[in-house]
């Protein structure tokens, strides 16, 4: 009995995983190999060709998703790092307030936030309409329905998930270690490059994981801000599932996306494994 106790203790989490992860995944895997239609029903035929078909039909959207997700992640890194740095080192006694402000948008629904951007960026809306009225922008100028709008929306929506892990990593950097670097003849810039940045890379690593995956799979930003020419894989899956009722294709696409992301994460972790990152930075 004693020896079983640890296993019994983790049992609830295993049951949880089984019910909410393994069972739906298995169901989806099975659907992805079926053929048929919504009216006559679907039957298991082990048609692996579902994958090939889906991929060849939607490879553009899949690649576009990876590109947009990547661009948004880079943008979040460039914006998020300075913000996290500023809160961690300059925030003083107001740190918790700044963190709260950062999370404040989450009190508004994701869709609503994105729609408000649609409203803000509208061709003749309050921002561009006014500027055009003053003659500061040409009449044809528009942002909505461009790559920029979608990547911008993704960046805005997932930014806190980039900032928080970086903040946590920076917060743990001992200021005396930075002083030690300066004491050992490092300029402020050199102390940042050699000490602060490498010590915060695990946070950046976590931030990238937490933003790249949901940004790549996100259907909402493309739907609301992207118009018709910026469709992402998330939109395709949604349409196939909810509109076309083509469950096998939707499932096959979902699995493909998941596989691509998992491989991506694995390669990323191998190439930039935290330990190696630190090693490289110490050179």
């Amino acid at each position: 009995m004693k020896r079983l106790t640890p296993y019994l203790l983790v049992l609830p989490s295993w049951i949880w995983l089984a019910i909410f992860l393994v069972v739906p995944m298995a169901a989806m895997a099975s659907v992805s190999l079926q053929t048929g239609n919504a009216i006559d029903g679907f039957a298991m035929t082990f048609s692996f060709s579902n994958y090939g078909d889906a991929l060849s039909r939607y490879s553009t959207q899949l690649l576009r998703s990876l590109l947009y997700g990547g661009l948004a992640t880079v943008a979040m890194m460039l914006i998020g790092y300075p913000v996290a740095y500023w809160i961690a080192f300059r925030g003083g006694r107001r740190k918790s307030m700044y963190l709260f402000l950062l999370l404040l948008p989450f009190f508004v629904s994701f869709v609503l936030r994105t729609i408000s951007w649609n409203f803000l960026l509208a061709d003749n809306g309050i921002l561009f309409g006014t500027l055009k009225g003053w003659g500061l922008l040409p009449e044809g100028f528009h942002v909505l329905a461009t790559t920029f709008a979608v990547v911008g929306g993704l960046t805005y929506n997932f930014l806190p998930f980039m900032i928080l892990p970086i903040y946590v990593a920076l917060e743990r950097v001992d200021p005396r270690v930075v002083e030690a670097a300066q004491d050992l003849y490092a300029t402020r810039g050199a102390a940042f490059r050699r000490v602060v940045l490498p010590l915060s890379l695990p946070g950046v690593f976590a931030g990238v994981l937490m933003t790249f995956v949901p940004a790549t799979a996100d259907p909402i930003n493309a739907a609301i801000l992207g118009g018709t020419s910026n469709t992402m894989i998330g939109n395709i899956i949604q349409t196939e599932y909810l509109t076309n009722l083509n469950y096998p294709t939707a499932s096959a696409l979902s699995f493909t996306l998941m596989a691509v992301l998992l491989v991506g994460i694995f390669v990323y972790a191998r190439v930039l494994g935290t330990e190696n990152v630190l090693e490289a930075a110490a050179r």
């Binding site: 005396r176 002083e179 030690a180 300066q182 004491d183 003849y185 050699r194 000490v195 010590l199």
Partner: protein
């Protein structure tokens, strides 16, 4: 020897603003530290030792006053441009770097040629006895080893002065004593000026050439360990350094007299405070010779401490119940000269009384 002092502080004041209130951490410190000297800053917690040190290193700018290194005013020079290195209280090693990279850091920043870095880091690791551990990370090392990495990281740059902020604070007693000897040896070997911060008086006494005893943002006394021990300048110094007995009273014609007690203070008249070290006092049951300083009292406590006995004696002739501590060597036999409750005479030679501030 250049004749210039390694470090000079001229009336340095440091004020902090904390919760809208001005806190004076250092209230006007003037110091000269000579080339090659082992200099200690000693004082209780919060007296301003670290703040003083940080101003020398350049992490804090003085509110007032000047900091000079080798005669040059560096008051507004940033730390990376000062030719002094610091060993931090918590070591502050770079956690993401190996021992080798930690030690090589300063030389790399100074763009020292590769082969010279290799040679000097290797030599330095040998001095601190860490050869063969170059590839370890700080967290894989013991406290004493980390301390030696911190020391090597600073010393390898051959700074004009090394600043050490309670570098042994985190070590246990045995390691501490071993490191004290080690530090002293390294200092002799490299001949660099050491400024050593500690709140441990025995550490300061054994290691230093000179000590500045600080209290509440001010230097109370700056002198050699012997001088500070034997001739404390203030009651604070006398009390802070070792166990010390304080007697106050009014001297008439060089004698402080109360009842049967007489404390000889040649050349002093009026209100005086006299200190006498516990180990200078003899304890006995017979009246001592007339040329001695003599007080009478009752033993309130006897503590056997191995090599010596410690007595607490309450003076019978003092109205405020002054208690005098006496150490008696167990030179002959372990039986105590007096028991609790015994009436005793305490005596010491006139030259062992020291009138504070004289």
């Amino acid at each position: 020897m250049t004749g210039l002092n390694a470090i000079e502080l001229e009336d340095v004041v440091k004020e902090y603003l904390s919760h809208g209130e001005v806190v004076q951490a250092v209230k006007g410190v003037t110091l000269d530290i000579a080339e090659g000297e082992f200099f200690s800053l000693l004082g209780p917690s919060g007296c301003g030792k670290t703040t003083t040190m940080r101003m020398i290193a350049g992490f804090e700018e003085p509110t007032k006053g000047l900091v000079k290194l080798h005669g040059q005013d560096v008051t507004n020079v940033p730390p990376n441009k000062r030719d002094v290195n610091m060993v931090f209280q918590s070591y502050a090693l770079f956690p993401h770097m190996s021992v080798w990279d930690n030690v090589a850091f300063g030389l790399k920043q100074k763009k020292t040629p590769q082969d010279e870095i290799k040679r000097r880091v290797g030599e330095m690791l040998e001095i601190v006895d860490l050869t063969g551990r170059e590839k370890r990370r700080p967290r894989e090392m013991s406290g004493g080893q980390q301390q030696r990495v911190a020391l090597a990281r600073a010393l390898v740059n051959r700074p004009r002065a090394l600043l050490l902020d309670e570098p042994l604070g985190a070590l246990d007693l045995k390691l501490r004593q071993a490191m004290q000897i080690e530090l002293k040896r390294i200092q002799r070997e490299v001949g660099i000026t050491f400024v050593y911060v500690t709140h441990d008086q025995s550490e300061a006494l054994t290691m230093s050439d000179r000590i500045a005893v600080m209290n509440d943002g001010l230097v109370e006394q700056l002198a050699s360990p012997r001088e500070i021990y034997e001739r404390p300048a203030t009651g604070f110094v006398a009390g802070f350094i070792g166990t010390s007995n304080l007697l106050t009273g009014t001297a008439v014609g060089g004698v402080l007299k109360v009842g049967d007690s007489r404390v000889l203070v040649p050349g002093h008249d009026g209100d005086v405070t006299v200190t006498v070290r516990p180990e200078k006092i003899a304890i006995g049951t017979e009246e001592p010779a007339p040329e001695m300083s003599v007080v009478r009292g009752t033993v309130t406590e006897v503590v056997y401490l191995g090599t010596y006995n410690s007595y607490a004696v309450r003076l019978s002739d003092s109205t405020d119940g002054t208690v005098i501590t006496v150490f008696q060597q167990n030179a002959h036999d372990a039986t105590a000269t007096a028991e609790r409750g015994d009436s005793v005479w305490l005596s010491w030679q006139a030259r062992h009384s020291y009138v504070i501030g004289s």
